[in-house]
Amino acid sequence: MALSPTDVRHIAKLARLTLSDAQVTKFAKELTSILDYVDVLKEVDTSAVEPTAQVTGACNVLREDAVEPSSAERAALLSTSPLPIVDNQIETPSAHG
C-alpha cells in the first residue's frame, strides 16, 4: 500500500512530529517500502487464531493498595525536567495558546 505525501503529513501530525517537505518525500518512500514488505502477512489465514498480546500467561497482577517509598524522591524527579519548576510543579508552555 503506497502512502502519499498527504498521508505522511497526517500520520506525522497524529504523532506530533513536524516534517520538512524533503522529509515527507523521503519518509513516504521508506514507509511505503515497509508497508509493501509487511503485505506478505496477507498470505496467512488467521481467521481461527487468537491474537498474542503477551507471552507470560500472567493475568491481573495485583499488590496491596499501600503507600511505599519510591525509588526516587520528588525533588530528584523534578530536577530532571528542562522546564521551570514552580511550587513543586513543572511549568509547561500554555495548553491554550
Binding site: 502512502l3 498521508d7 505522511v8 500520520i11 506525522a12 497524529l14 504523532a15 506530533r16 512530529l17 513536524t18 516534517l19 523521503k26 519518509f27 521508506e30 514507509l31 517500502s33 515497509i34 508497508l35 514488505y37 509487511v38 503485505d39 506478505v40 502477512l41 498470505e43 496467512v44 488467521t46 487464531v49 487468537e50 491474537p51 498474542t52 498480546a53 503477551q54 507471552v55 507470560t56 500472567a58 497482577v61 499488590r63 525509588s71 526516587a72 524522591e73 530528584a76 524527579l77 530536577s79 530532571t80 525536567s81 528542562p82 522546564l83 513543572i90 509547561t92 508552555p93 500554555s94 495548553a95 491554550h96 495558546g97
Partner: protein, 483 residues
C-alpha cells in the same frame, strides 16, 4: 592483560589477593582508553566513581560473590543513579538525562559489588541492527573497523570482545544481544521474557524487550544471569519461578540431548561460510552424543513482517513519554502542541521517527485490525511452531545471522534491508523463548560467525548447558581481535 580475564578467573585471583580490584578496574579503564578511539563502544565514562568503588572493595578485602569487584559496562538505556543515561538519542542528550534511581538490574549488581565503568553505545532507543542510528555515531567491529559491531547492543558486544570490560549488559527485543555477540565473537543470552526485570530500562517494545548479559564464556553468562534474574515487584511481567544455580547446570554432558535443526534457517541468501560453520557445530554436538533431527518452523518467513508491525506499534506508544516535560531536550514554543512538535522533531532521529509513524498508522482507526491485530495473530502461529517443535526436541540450533558483520553504511536509507538482518533472531522474541549466541567459527575474512542455541520458555539451564559443552569442545570463544 588483566582485562582479558574471565569473571571466573578474575574472581579466583581477587579472592586469593593475587590482584586487587583497583588493578583490575584500572586495566579496563586503560584498555578502554587505548581501543575506544577506534571502536566508539563507550559513550559515558564513569571512571572516577568506578575507581572509588574499587578502592572501597579492596579495603573491605572480601569477595563473597563471584561478581564482587568485577568491572562491567551497561548499555545506555539502563538507568543508573547519578550517571548520564541517554539511549544514544539527542532527545535525552542535549540536557543529559541523569536518572535519580537505579534499574533493578544495576541495583542487583551494585548490591553484590560489581563495578560499573560506564555506558555503551546503542542504536537510538535500541532501534537498529548496526548501532549506526546512535547520536554518538557507529560502533565498529573489533575484528575489522570498516564493519559494524552489530546492534543494537553493539557497544556492549564490541567492548566485551575487545577486553574493555569483563562483561556487559544489553537488551534484546529482536536480536539486539545475540546478533552483535555473533558479529563480535562473544557470548550473549536472550532470556525468556519475564526472567529478568525491565524496571528502569528504557522501553522499546514492551511485550518483547528483555535485558540480559554479554560475556566471554557461557560460564560467565550463567553467573551473571543467576545474579540478575528473578521476580521483581516493580516489573509485573517477571515470572515467580525460582532462580536456579545456572552454573550447576553446566555439566558438560549433552549425551542424548535432542537437537532440532530447522530447515527454514538454512535458506537461499545465507552466506555459505555461515552455513558451513553452523553445520560443523552441529556435527560437534553429534560427536558429543547429542541426537539431531531436521524440524520445521513453518511460519518463520512471516516473523520479520509481524515483528515490524508489532514493534513500531508499541514504539509509537512508548515514545510518547519523550515530550520534553519531565526530562530531556527542550525548545521554545508558543503553546504546548507546538512544544511537543518542536521537541520531538528535533530530538528523535530518522529510525525512531519511521517506527513511530508506522506504529501510529498501524494503530489508527480503520487499520488496527488489518495490521496490528493480524500481526498479533501471526505471532500466535509463530509461538505454536515452537510449542510443537519443543515437544520433540530440547534445543534448536541455527545461525544467529545470515552473514558475518557487514560494512558500515551498507544499509543506509534502506530500512527493509536493515530489518532483514534480524531474520533469524526475531521469531524467538515473538514466541517469548530463550536463545544463546556463541562463537562457532571464523570466515575467510577473519570475521566471527555465531551459533544460536534456542531453548523453550524458562529453558536457560538447557541452552547454557549445551553452549558450555560446545565451548569445552572447541576454541572459538578464546579467539581475540588484534587491536
Amino acid at each position: 592483560m588483566l582485562s582479558s580475564l574471565t569473571i571466573a578467573q578474575a574472581h579466583t585471583k581477587l579472592s586469593k589477593k593475587e590482584i586487587s580490584c583497583e588493578e583490575l578496574t584500572r586495566a579496563c579503564i586503560e584498555r578502554i582508553e587505548s581501543v575506544d578511539t577506534a571502536l566508539n563502544s563507550v559513550v559515558h565514562r564513569n571512571f572516577e566513581r568506578a575507581l572509588e568503588e574499587a578502592k572501597n572493595i579492596d579495603s573491605n578485602g572480601e569477595f563473597p560473590h563471584p561478581l564482587t569487584g568485577i568491572p562491567y559496562l551497561t548499555k545506555d538505556v539502563y538507568c543508573e543513579e547519578g550517571i548520564p543515561t541517554t539511549a544514544c538519542s539527542n532527545i535525552l542528550r542535549n540536557k543529559d538525562y541523569v536518572p535519580p534511581f537505579d534499574s533493578t538490574t544495576t541495583e542487583r549488581l551494585k548490591a553484590v559489588g560489581a563495578v560499573s565503568l560506564g555506558k555503551t553505545n546503542t542504536d537510538e532507543f535500541t532501534m537498529g541492527a548496526s548501532t549506526e542510528s546512535s547520536c554518538y555515531g557507529v560502533t565498529r567491529c573489533p575484528w575489522d573497523t570498516t564493519r559494524v559491531a552489530g546492534g543494537s547492543s553493539g557497544g556492549s558486544a564490541a567492548a566485551v570482545a575487545a577486553d574493555a570490560c569483563l562483561f556487559a549488559l544489553g537488551t534484546d527485543t529482536g536480536g539486539s544481544i545475540r546478533q552483535p555477540a555473533g558479529f563480535c565473537g562473544c557470548t550473549g543470552l536472550r532470556v525468556t521474557y519475564g526472567r529478568t526485570s525491565r524496571y528502569g530500562v528504557m522501553s522499546m517494545a514492551s511485550s518483547l524487550d528483555t535485558i540480559g548479559p554479554l560475556g566471554k564464556t557461557v560460564e560467565d553468562v550463567a553467573m551473571i544471569l543467576g545474579t540478575i534474574a528473578g521476580k521483581d515487584p516493580k516489573d509485573v511481567t517477571t515470572g515467580s519461578l525460582p532462580v536456579p544455580d545456572y552454573r550447576k547446570a553446566l555439566t558438560k554432558d549433552v549425551k542424548g540431548l535432542r537437537i532440532g535443526v530447522p530447515k527454514e534457517y538454512f535458506i537461499e541468501g545465507i552466506d555459505p561460510q555461515v552455513e558451513e560453520h553452523v553445520r560443523s557445530a552441529i556435527a560437534v554436538f553429534e560427536k558429543l552424543g547429542a541426537v539431531t533431527r531436521e524440524i520445521t518452523l513453518p511460519h518463520t518467513k512471516y516473523a520479520v513482517a509481524a515483528y515490524y508491525i508489532i514493534v513500531p506499534s508499541e514504539v509509537s506508544s512508548n515514545m510518547a513519554r519523550y515530550d520534553g516535560i519531565r526530562f530531556g531536550h527542550s525548545e521554545k514554543a508558543a503553546d504546548l502542541v507546538d512544544y511537543y512538535h518542536a521537541v520531538r522533531s528535533a530530538g528523535f532521529g530518522d529510525e525512531v521517527k519511521r517506527r513511530i509513524m508506522i506504529g501510529t498508522y498501524a494503530l489508527s482507526a480503520g487499520y488496527y485490525d488489518a495490521y496490528y491485530r493480524h500481526a498479533q495473530k501471526v505471532r500466535t502461529l509463530i509461538r505454536r511452531d515452537f510449542e510443537e517443535a519443543f515437544k520433540e526436541v530440547d534445543v534448536i540450533l541455527a545461525p544467529v545471522s545470515p552473514t558475518p558483520a557487514f560494512l558500515v553504511g551498507a544499509h543506509t536509507d534502506d530500512p527493509v534491508a536493515m530489518y532483514l538482518e534480524d531474520v533469524f533472531t526475531i521469531s524467538q522474541p515473538l514466541a517469548g523463548i530463550t536463545a544463546l549466541s556463541i562463537p562457532c567459527g571464523m570466515s575467510k575474512e577473519n570475521l566471527p560467525i555465531g551459533l544460536q542455541i534456542m531453548g523453550n520458555q524458562w529453558g536457560e539451564e538447557t541452552v547454557l548447558r549445551a553452549g558450555h559443552a560446545y565451548e569445552q569442545a572447541t576454541e572459538w570463544h578464546t579467539l581475540t581481535p588484534q587491536l
